[in-house]
Symmetry: C2
Subunit: 470 residues, 2 copies
Amino acid sequence: MGDAVLEQVLARLEAGRDQSLARLKAILRLPSIGTDPAYQAETRACAEWLVAELAGLGFAASLRPTTGQPMVVAHHPGPPGADANLPHVLYYGHYDVQPAEPLELWTSPPFEPRVVEAEHGPRIVARGAVDDKGQLMTFIEAMRAWHGVTGSLPVRVTVFLEGEEESGSTSLEPFLAAHRDELRADVCVVSDTGLWDIDTPALATLLRGLMYLELTLHGPSHDLHSGLYGGAVANPLNLLTRILGQLHDEAGRVQLPGFYDDCVDLSAEAAEWAALAADEPAFLASVGLQVPHGEAGRSLLERLWARPTCDLNGVWGGYTGPGSKTVIPAKASAKLSFRLVPGQAPAKIQASLARFLAARTPPDCRWQIDNLGSGPALRMPRESRYLRAAQAALAQTFGRPAVMIGMGGSIPAIEAIKRLLGMDSILMGFGLIDDRVHSPNEKFELRCFHQGMRAHARLLAELGALPPAS
Amino acid sequence: MGDAVLEQVLARLEAGRDQSLARLKAILRLPSIGTDPAYQAETRACAEWLVAELAGLGFAASLRPTTGQPMVVAHHPGPPGADANLPHVLYYGHYDVQPAEPLELWTSPPFEPRVVEAEHGPRIVARGAVDDKGQLMTFIEAMRAWHGVTGSLPVRVTVFLEGEEESGSTSLEPFLAAHRDELRADVCVVSDTGLWDIDTPALATLLRGLMYLELTLHGPSHDLHSGLYGGAVANPLNLLTRILGQLHDEAGRVQLPGFYDDCVDLSAEAAEWAALAADEPAFLASVGLQVPHGEAGRSLLERLWARPTCDLNGVWGGYTGPGSKTVIPAKASAKLSFRLVPGQAPAKIQASLARFLAARTPPDCRWQIDNLGSGPALRMPRESRYLRAAQAALAQTFGRPAVMIGMGGSIPAIEAIKRLLGMDSILMGFGLIDDRVHSPNEKFELRCFHQGMRAHARLLAELGALPPAS
């Protein structure tokens, strides 16, 4: 594929900006709140809209039923007479959005997208603006430009979009398992992450895993009056705070025996991140804090991306209403989650926790532990021909090289695609930290939208130009 | 007052048992759930019923409005031509009852009193059976018998009954303060406590105090995603468990500096209680536990009655619904209460707690502490002519001496009567530990009801026979 063709594709993107924006607005107007049964028809309408768009670009596109929201699956054979060795690329994204509540905090209705001027130029404000409708439209618009110029795409492409990402991706694994052969490709490309800053592209190669547990400590057979029993019986709330309060030491290290034993050495990544000069005071100030927190002796980015954590996400028990009630409750509960790094096995950590709790609990009290979901961390190759293609596309688009970053959160689909289809993913996203994902007034900078389309157009060129795999 | 008169009074009680039971049933049928606005008319009807009963016994009885439930106040001048030196006795009780929920656990409707046979003979099952309607009827029935035999009472009596005991006694202190002169007497008699066992009477002379606090730890300015921030920001739930988990040491001792400094020595009481041979395994088994708990080196009764405690009564924060949400919450809260013993000052302990929390909290996080109520412990005289009268009445009724006990809980009215009217109270109650106070199927043994009436009849005789105070 010659550079001249790519230049035509980029020029077509440039000339078609208004139409690209119009299409982005069109999909943002569809309130695809997948988790809310009241929006079932609208969610399906969004999936149908995408099927129609992809069919218009030469895809064999269809809606696939699941027990939840339907999947969008679309296949493009690549250029006419494509070599069987031409790369086959799976694009993953999701068309569902978070609920828009609290509605009163929106400055304009969440499903009436509005373009407003701000420090980086125009931005579009709507639920789903960046997560993930705006981002998935970056590659669909890039494909549209290629289709417009060449009548085809430079590589074989499968687009796979789910509608349950914001509600636990319940149907994803069964669907992947049932359609391995149809969905397996050479590499997966995902745009659901961010830039380092508006001028600096990023590729995420490290994603922390997650294990989420619900714990309940059972003590007395029923709620007791603290006047009649206080001082002579085990109080599950006292015990729960006492025991869970021992999960960290003074230096912020998790105290479960063996917790750090299997952590892969990530000093190479950490050394690179040092060059990013992350601004910890600004990071803290953005959430109303001032004091560095977490594992002593580790940089901010190491703590966020390369070190495991243990956080209580909820605690409840006893009387929690207004006023006072002098109760010693029969039980107390907590939601406890661990962010995991490569090497750590969720089952081993859960077993260590169970022993840690039991060793600190009187024999007449009992912990119930429910695992609400877990997935290991992912470490993508930091060197591959596909990653090089993405690096080239980003460097040419932004005029500077992409930084290789980690992600503190997990994207369950990436892990499932790796585990069930055996494919690595290229995480090439265009969001910014202040995009208010999941919050009122979610936005996407149009500059990011345009750079994303261009980068995807270039990535398609780079992938099409790869030599046959050896 | 001769023994012959007392024998007639006791015989009249015996002969009138069926009528006494009928009146107990009548008051138990009135659903005086003072805390619930839906029962306002029924609560007032119960107070009016008591006014009418007392008026029928020669009292000048009236309903007194408050901002909440009305007070019942009734005065009896004592025998005709009573000496001004004759004792004046204030009887305190409450006519309101706890809500009956959960209704489905009652074996018969809570406000349709039912007499059933059990190990100790017949018992009456209803909300309020023992707390406090059944108990206050023991002294009203005793007064009725005296009135029936002599046309009067052997001492000057004021009956003072409130309707907000189960909902915080909000009006009690203002009412006491506004009616000091009217309500002040020589001694207060209260029947809202228990026997040691069904054969052994008890007098409570030690009541623990209470300080009830609500704590909120404020951290980040808003809820955060644990993937994006976990490991690098203060998590209020982690901090709250870590800090409150340090409130006790391994030996069960409260770790607030100075917490035990002012505790009065109660070894005399503790030595007496040793003779009671409390059965700790049975105590624990009754609430589904086996392992002794609390301050090491202290007997069960010391831990329950004579040692201060610190118990969490509620904890909440973050996500507490079904499933998982990876949130680091902006704040976390707890209800924390202290049972206090004589000598301990609530304000001093609250100040020590505030320092304890602050010393363990990063400077960018902040504790809010709200005091929801506090009152010091009470230590009644263990030797007085009124107590001797009660001891004599109980010993004659039960055929064995009363044991002197403590109470783990507080009765705020007793403390207020001491503080505002300067009067000690005789705590002479007839409940049993298994009466299911505040629970479904609350009951009162009729044997206890009858012994209570007899003991109160004898107490009136004893008080009437006291020599003039010097």
